[in-house]
């Protein structure tokens, strides 16, 4: 092929030459070329190798389903697989090779597979190579052969500016009917977005010209009207990748996805020209008529010198006219129809009622001619009576398949229209309209009228009006031949070019019983390749209909799913937002050398790194500080909820298992929460700040869900309470340790005396000048104050405490030390010492459950469970001092060779100088003094002994330290 002199509407810019490399050779094209048009213009005969047989291939459609011209494109340092040469604009400077070759396009070692063809029938791999012994080897070979392009594992992460957009009417497709629709909708006052995957609008109106000057003029005027209409936004080089619920259509642009929410959608995607099925219909030089027209009018590339046009419709004659107009000799028009149209170009031989049954290749594998014969309706033909016609180009125009994928996804019902031999919409969902070829309308004036009606109707819907009924267009043309499919004893008559499926493969599949369209698709993989059946599904349906002796409509179609064209993951991912939360003290932790651990959306300090100390040592130091002096931990991630009102106490009695009606003002109490099936889901500390005002905490992970569920319950109960979630607006920190009170004293005028602020008390006072709520709690088992204050003031308080604590040896401590401290104290962590099915009886928390209340969530289920034997029980244990190993959390408790439970928490206690832990075990083992066997990593079994909880300070004296009494260790 070679470049033509300038064409009226050509897309190329001859003033800008772009150089690139293809298969190691230097090539150049023009700006506006696609990779394929540039390569063809440069005389490249082969663009790729086929998927299975590695046959040389070139362009088929030039319409974004030339899957045999997929390229590996290396540009600006990294490489992209499966780039579609037929539509990808030439950038200049790229290095291009065909995918799926072994040793290059020309010398591809894979080509021997073409000769093996006979031994590789459809689904051949199902019938062979499955011996257990050999399959792995065979699979490795198979995986080596398959897979098209290569992934460049050094390629960078690409983040794209994905965005939302809104319009009244979205028109998909910028051909004649789409342009008419956009214009009509805009004239009706709608804000219109018009999307076309081509680089310029106009569609077939500007390439399927048939050298018709009037059409050319009319179309250019229409395009001008669109361009100059301020209500219409035109997006070219973009495609709608799918239709999702409520007119939600992602538009894939070269750089990102635009998520379009439209009030109404017009689908004007046109139709895909379909190949005829005959031997060697995949030879380079054989292409669809529309591909030849695109080459001529868009890229000024001469498709061949001497052409045969294979006709099944009148479009073929326009193809011939366009070819002739650029100096291509028309060797013949081979028309399947006995009666050809009136307008036959002068001097062109038309062979009526005949078919191309074989394309003939020369030594280099290029088209040298065609064999034609007179076919019967079933695709058979008289092998004795054939003749050859020499040509270097064969243009096939025998039929179309509508681009209805988005309509299917929207839930449209289709019917098969006999006149046009295609599926057309029968019923469409509200606000969705289809026009043009996709609607079975093929001739230009009708397409324009059909589009205008669809556009007006869409605008009406967008404005909330009833769409006026659309007049039924009557298409008199017959654009699609019912069966352009011709058997050949030597096969190589391809139906699916992606998957290298031949006609006989379908008969074989049906023979095996895969004879409904879905099974056929799955067994043969027809339409499963990158082109998603755009050129193969329609012929597959026709073939199956013939096999089953049923009408095409009964055979039906397979379901259509996004993506319409494949979409890069980076486009879908966008910027990939990652929600992260941080407490007001985050910067303080960074400054203090925090080592972070994730906790849901939060990052929390696991511990604070100390120069010269290993992780364990640093954690131990934090534990020791809390036990012997003081420690400060950020507990701001806890949920913080406030309940006000006359019914506040009643409300808490319903949502927690414990009793709160009798909780004294100024005091706190532990609260346990279960769900309706009595599974433990959350816990916290409830403070009563006044008769009708409670303030309480939830677990870190529970904060959002607990608040949500509490408000839902009260929506049902309608109690007179106000519930507020303060989680993010308040900060919280726990100051704990024997020195806690003395440290705090230096920062507040409030009375901290044990008499006025006893253990479990709750007070409000200023700390470092900041109004704060103080809860005297003992989670870590020492004298402790949980300080809650306004988030914006928290860093100030933290700083003040940090300097006030220095003289006392106070340290900040992290989650890991807290875990250890609470374990010494025998306090449960919901979600670690319990799992998704643990109830309070199993968790040994009956003490926190008041069954004699009138009602609480989960109470009724607990009554049922109370009647049943326990399934497991949470206990404490210690390892024998001479234990030869230390188990980890979730190591199993083994009794008589059977699993009898698991370790939920375990650690070496720096305070008790031994390994302590908790375990959920079989109740019969849960007696203090009972010895347990804990299995480590499926092997060694370690002895442990069940003990009462807590391990540390059993009478809780340390939490209750009275004033003046100095229990500070030497550390102070």
């Amino acid at each position: 092929m070679k470049r033509l002199p300038p064409q009226p509407d050509e897309w190329i810019d001859r003033s800008r030459t772009l150089d690139f490399r293809f298969e190691g050779r230097a090539v150049n094209g023009f700006a506006g070329d696609t990779l394929a048009s540039a390569l063809l213009a440069a005389g490249e005969a082969f663009l790729g190798r086929s998927f299975k047989y590695h046959r040389p291939r070139s362009v088929l459609s030039l319409a974004n389903h030339d899957v045999n011209a997929l390229m590996q494109v290396t540009h600006k340092g990294h490489s992209r697989p499966n780039v579609r040469a037929d539509v990808t604009p030439l950038a200049g400077g790229e290095v291009v090779t065909a995918v799926n070759t072994f040793g290059g396009l020309a010398a591809d070692k894979g080509r021997f597979l073409d000769r093996l063809g006979a031994f590789l029938p459809v689904g051949f791999y199902y019938k062979a190579f499955y011996s257990k012994r050999w399959f792995p080897y065979w699979e490795r070979m198979f995986r080596f052969m398959t897979g098209l392009g290569r992934v460049d594992v050094a390629a960078p992460r690409v983040r794209t500016p994905k965005r939302y957009a809104f319009c009244d009417v979205l028109v998909v497709g910028g051909g004649p009917s789409g342009l008419a629709a956009a214009l009509a909708a805009a004239d009706a006052g709608a804000k219109v977005v018009l999307v076309d995957e081509n680089q310029q609008v106009g569609g077939s109106g500007l390439f399927a010209l048939g050298a018709d000057a009037a059409q050319h003029k009319q179309m250019n005027e229409l395009v001008l009207a669109i361009r100059s209409n301020r209500r219409i936004e035109v997006m070219t080089g973009c495609f709608a990748s799918g239709y999702y619920t409520d007119h939600w259509v992602p538009i894939v642009t070269p750089t990102c996805i635009v998520k379009m929410r439209a009030a109404a959608v017009v689908l004007a995607g046109g139709a895909y020209e379909q190949p005829a099925v005959f031997r060697n219909n995949d030879l380079p030089g054989v292409m669809l008529g529309s591909a030849a027209q695109r080459l001529i009018h868009r890229y000024a590339v001469k498709p061949c010198e001497r052409a045969v046009v294979f006709a099944g419709n009148d479009d073929a004659y326009r193809v011939a006219a366009d070819l002739a107009a650029v100096g291509v000799v028309i060797a013949a028009i081979v028309d399947l129809r006995p009666a050809a149209p009136n307008s036959v170009p002068a001097g062109v031989e038309v062979r009526r009622g005949m078919a191309v049954v074989e394309a003939l290749a020369d030594r280099r594998g290029l088209l040298r001619g065609v064999r034609i014969a007179t076919p019967a309706a079933d695709g058979t033909w008289d092998h004795a009576a054939t003749e050859e016609i020499a040509c270097d180009g064969l243009m096939v125009s025998v039929g179309f398949a509508p681009a209805l994928a988005l309509a299917y996804q929207a839930g449209a019902r289709m019917r098969f229209d006999m006149q046009t031999q295609q599926f057309v919409p029968a019923t469409l969902p509200d606000g969705l309209f289809v026009c043009g070829r996709a609607n079975g309308i093929h001739t230009l004036p009708l397409k324009l009228a059909d589009g205008a009606e669809a556009g007006a109707a869409a605008a009406a819907v967008a404005h909330g009006l009833a769409p006026h009924p659309r007049a039924a267009m009557i298409e008199t043309a017959q654009p699609s031949h019912p069966y352009p499919i011709f058997e050949h004893p030597r096969g190589r008559n391809f139906v699916d070019f992606d998957e290298d499926l031949q006609l006989k493969d379908f008969f074989n599949a049906a023979q095996e019983g895969y004879d409904n369209i879905e099974l056929l698709k799955r067994f043969s993989t027809v339409g499963m390749g990158p082109s998603q059946g755009k050129h193969s599904n329609m012929n597959a349906i026709r073939i199956l209909a013939k096999i089953r002796g049923e009408p095409v409509e009964k055979v039906g179609t397979t379901t259509s799913r996004p993506m319409f064209h494949p979409v890069p993951m980076a486009h879908l991912a966008g910027r990939a937002f990652q929600v992260e939360r941080s407490t007001p003290l985050h910067a303080r932790h960074v400054a203090a050398g925090a080592v972070w651990m994730p906790a849901g959306q939060w990052q929390r300090p696991e511990y604070y790194a100390v120069a010269g100390l290993r992780r364990e040592a640093a954690i131990t130091a934090e534990v020791v500080a809390v036990r012997e002096a003081a420690g400060l931990i950020d507990v701001g991630t806890l949920g913080k909820i406030e309940v006000y009102g006359p019914d506040a106490a009643l409300f808490l009695e319903r949502v927690y298992t414990g009793r709160f009606a009798n909780l004294k003002v100024g005091m706190t109490r532990y609260g346990l929460m279960v769900d309706e099936s009595a599974v433990v889901i959350d816990d916290g500390v409830i403070a009563r700040l006044s008769e009708e005002h409670f303030y309480f905490t939830t677990t870190t992970s529970g904060s959002a869900t607990v608040y949500r569920e509490l408000t839902r319950w009260n929506t049902i109960w309608g109690l007179n309470v106000g519930i507020t979630n303060l989680t993010g607006h308040l900060a919280a920190m726990n100051l704990a340790g024997p020195a806690a009170r003395r440290i705090l004293k230096t920062l507040t005028d409030g009375n901290l005396s044990d008499a006025l602020f006893p253990y479990l008390g709750a007070r409000e006072m200023r700390v470092a000048g900041v109004a704060a709520r103080l809860l005297r709690v003992g989670f870590v088992g020492e004298l402790g104050y949980e300080l809650h204050m306004a988030a914006d003031c928290a860093p100030h308080v933290w700083d003040a405490l940090t300097s006030a604590g220095k003289p006392f040896g106070m340290r900040p401590f992290g989650v890991e030390a807290q875990r250890l401290l609470r374990l010494e104290k025998g306090h449960v962590i919901i979600g670690q010492d319990t799992d998704g099915l643990t109830n309070p009886l199993e968790a040994s928390m009956q003490w926190a459950v008041k069954m004699d209340k009138p009602f609480f969530v989960g109470q009724r289920s607990l009554q049922i469970l109370a009647k049943q034997p326990l399934r497991q029980k949470l206990v404490g244990f210690v390892l024998a001092d001479d234990a030869t190993g230390v188990p980890k959390e979730c190591h199993l408790v083994i009794e008589a060779g059977a699993i009898a439970g698991r370790v939920t928490s375990i650690a070496h206690s720096p305070t008790l100088k031994r390994v302590i832990g908790m375990a959920l075990i079989a109740p019969e083992l849960a007696t203090p003094g009972r010895s347990l066997k804990i299995r480590i990593d499926g092997a060694l079994e370690i002895e442990a002994v069940v003990t009462d909880l807590p391990f540390y300070d059993k009478d809780g004296g340390r939490q209750r330290i009275a004033d003046g009494v100095d229990m500070l260790g030497e550390a102070a």
């Binding site: 809104f166 992260e580 007001p584 006044s690 005002h693 303030y695 106000g722 988030a791 860093p795 100030h796």
Partner: protein, 221 residues
């Protein structure tokens, strides 16, 4: 800390993320705010972000809230999800039916309201309960503010009738945000409030996109 030797009592929730780029600082309502671009006209930037977390915030809710709102001499936003201007640049927003959000420069005014409702430990007035708020305040403006919004939020702000003084509670990059669109000069400015623990994520996301749109984050005083 980048914000100088003496730490003011209040710290903006976005202090750390702003500090990563800020070079000039000022103090407002006992809170350090970045003052880069302070002398530059906002309108000169295609899109700009501003940390207004220094303003004082307060909320109240309950069946008696609307009446109490009027009783305090505040303009009562008539319709749910609308807001009203207050003297001295503050605003009162009506979240759904019976919850209110107040934001103001003047600490005394906010304190007066807080005290009027009682400090939590006391009995709240009939059917009105205080809502302790320390929202992060972010202002987004500039001719290309829309270009930022369409990348972070599914609400069509382009179609919002700013004149009706609506407030919009929605999700932005996964964060619950209350947005008050308002006209400043010839520009629409979006005043946003969100839970301060999400603010660093929201701010850095908005700042990244704003930068892509040729904008910058700044504080004007």
């Amino acid at each position: 800390m980048t914000s100088g030797a003496i730490m003011p009592e209040r710290v903006s929730p976005v202090h750390a993320v702003v500090a990563a780029t800020a070079t000039r600082w000022t103090t407002r309502n006992r809170m350090a705010l970045a003052a880069d671009f302070a002398d530059m006209a906002r309108t000169a930037l295609p899109v700009w972000l501003m940390d207004v977390s220094h303003r004082f915030r307060f909320g109240f809710k309950g069946a008696g809230a609307p009446a109490w709102c009027s009783a305090q001499g505040l303009t009562l936003p008539g319709a749910p999800n609308t807001w009203a201007q207050m003297q001295g640049g503050g605003l009162v927003g009506r979240l759904a039916f019976t919850e209110f959000y107040v934001e103001h420069e003047d600490e005394a005014l906010v304190t007066r309201l807080t005290d009027a409702l009682g400090r939590g430990v006391q009995m709240p007035a009939g059917g009105v309960y205080p809502v302790h708020r320390r929202d992060a305040g972010i202002l987004l403006g500039g001719a290309r503010a829309q270009d930022v919004l369409v990348q972070v939020c599914n609400v069509n702000f382009g179609a919002v009738d700013v004149g009706a003084m609506p407030l919009i509670m929605t999700l932005m990059v996964g964060v619950a945000v209350t947005v008050f669109p308002m006209i400043e000069g010839d520009q629409t400015v979006y005043r946003m409030a969100c839970d301060p623990t999400f603010a660093p994520h929201l701010w850095s996301t908005l700042a990244e996109i704003a930068a892509d749109c040729g904008g910058a984050s700044l504080v004007t005083l």
